[in-house]
């Protein structure tokens, strides 16, 4: 058997590939808004989040206040808090406070998704593996985008935009096949998300995701409550 760290590295490869394409775009954007390549990579290494970073460089470029920066990050990244609570229920017994403080750095949408899809409890070493390879991809992509963004053909960079979303599909579909609860939750979430996007666009993207997710997960917990009972995938 592979060590948990190696398994984390391996499971993180699709995340890193997806990050490479997304952070490439971030690198292009950051340089365009006046940051150096070094500053762009520093932001990626210390934040590890797509939407928050994109909003952040906008605030830096506009000379916004530190308070505006803090509040914007809080709202856009609030979903990580929800993910942290969910993931805290899957940690094995050796996951002590120092390990939690380290691993918390790497709770992103994608790392959370892959970690939650694991059977059984997860170890700190597994998280470190996932986080290392993903962070490497995220920073490398930022560096390449910031320093060489205009060199790739746009047909290729456009097609890479779908990588992360396709990975999300690959995480949701298999359990949705087996569990009516997961299928119903995914359906409600998709419906709410489209309502926000097309009928209530004044609700920002970050809030739309949080609200859609809460509505769908509450509906699922009310209609199909047994799912989380054994800590097992129903």
């Amino acid at each position: 058997m592979k060590s948990p760290f190696a398994k984390g590295l391996f499971d993180g490869i699709p995340i890193a590939l997806g990050y490479l394409s997304v952070s490439f775009g971030f690198g292009i954007l950051a340089v365009r808004s006046g940051l150096t390549t070094l500053a762009s990579v520093m932001i990626s290494a210390s934040n590890l989040t797509s939407a928050g970073q994109a909003a952040g460089i906008g605030i830096i470029a506009a000379g916004g206040s530190y308070l505006e920066m803090a509040l914007t990050q809080l709202v856009i990244n609030l979903r990580y808090g929800l993910m942290s609570i969910s993931l805290s229920q899957k940690l094995d017994g050796t996951f002590n406070t120092p390990r939690r403080l380290i691993a918390a750095y790497g709770i992103t949408d994608e790392i959370f998704a892959v970690a939650s899809a694991q059977k059984g409890l997860i170890t700190a070493r597994y998280m470190y593996g996932l986080i290392s390879v993903s962070t490497f991809g995220w920073c490398l992509g930022t560096f390449l985008g910031a320093s060489a963004g205009a060199l790739l053909p746009s047909s290729l960079t456009n097609a890479m935009g779908i990588v992360l979303y396709a990975m999300f599909i690959a995480i949701v579909v298999p359990p949705a096949k087996k569990s009516r609860g997961v299928l119903a939750v995914a359906g409600v979430a998709a419906f709410c998300s489209m309502v926000f996007r097309y009928l209530l666009p004044q609700v920002g993207g970050g809030f739309a995701i949080i609200l859609s997710a809460i509505i769908a997960a509450v509906a699922g917990a009310l209609a199909f409550p047994a799912a989380g009972e054994e800590g097992e995938r129903a």
């Binding site: 500053a39 934040n47 809080l74 942290s84 935009g161 690959a170 998709a190 739309a208 989380g228």
Partner: protein, 104 residues
């Protein structure tokens, strides 16, 4: 306004949002409702992030729809994440080459 302070504020707020709940929740949550809720959160978040954003992810709704269809079929067949992810991207790329020739 200093660039270093901006980056520190960004990184600090983002880290605290992740860290506080992760470090604070030590025990298994007992409430059946809350456990079910947390079990469903990942699927709810991921679906809300994917739909409808995936259709705008490639700069063309047509190529994105093609990539999405490929991802759905392969995911339904339980293919590994990386296979689904790369095949969807390759499908969107191929659709971008082929679609201009299919005007009818």
């Amino acid at each position: 306004m200093s660039l270093a302070v901006y980056i520190a504020v960004m990184a600090g707020v983002t880290y605290l949002i992740r860290m506080i709940p992760f470090a604070a929740f030590r025990k298994q949550i007992k409430s059946r409702f809350f456990r079910s809720f947390l079990y469903y959160v990942p699927y709810a978040v991921l679906t809300a992030m994917t739909v409808p954003a995936i259709f705008y992810s490639t700069g063309s709704v047509a190529t994105a729809a093609f990539g999405t269809a490929v991802a759905l079929v392969l995911a339904y067949m339980d293919m590994p994440l990386i296979v689904v992810a790369l095949a969807a991207s390759a499908a969107a790329l191929a659709a971008g080459w082929i679609l201009p020739f299919l005007r009818f």
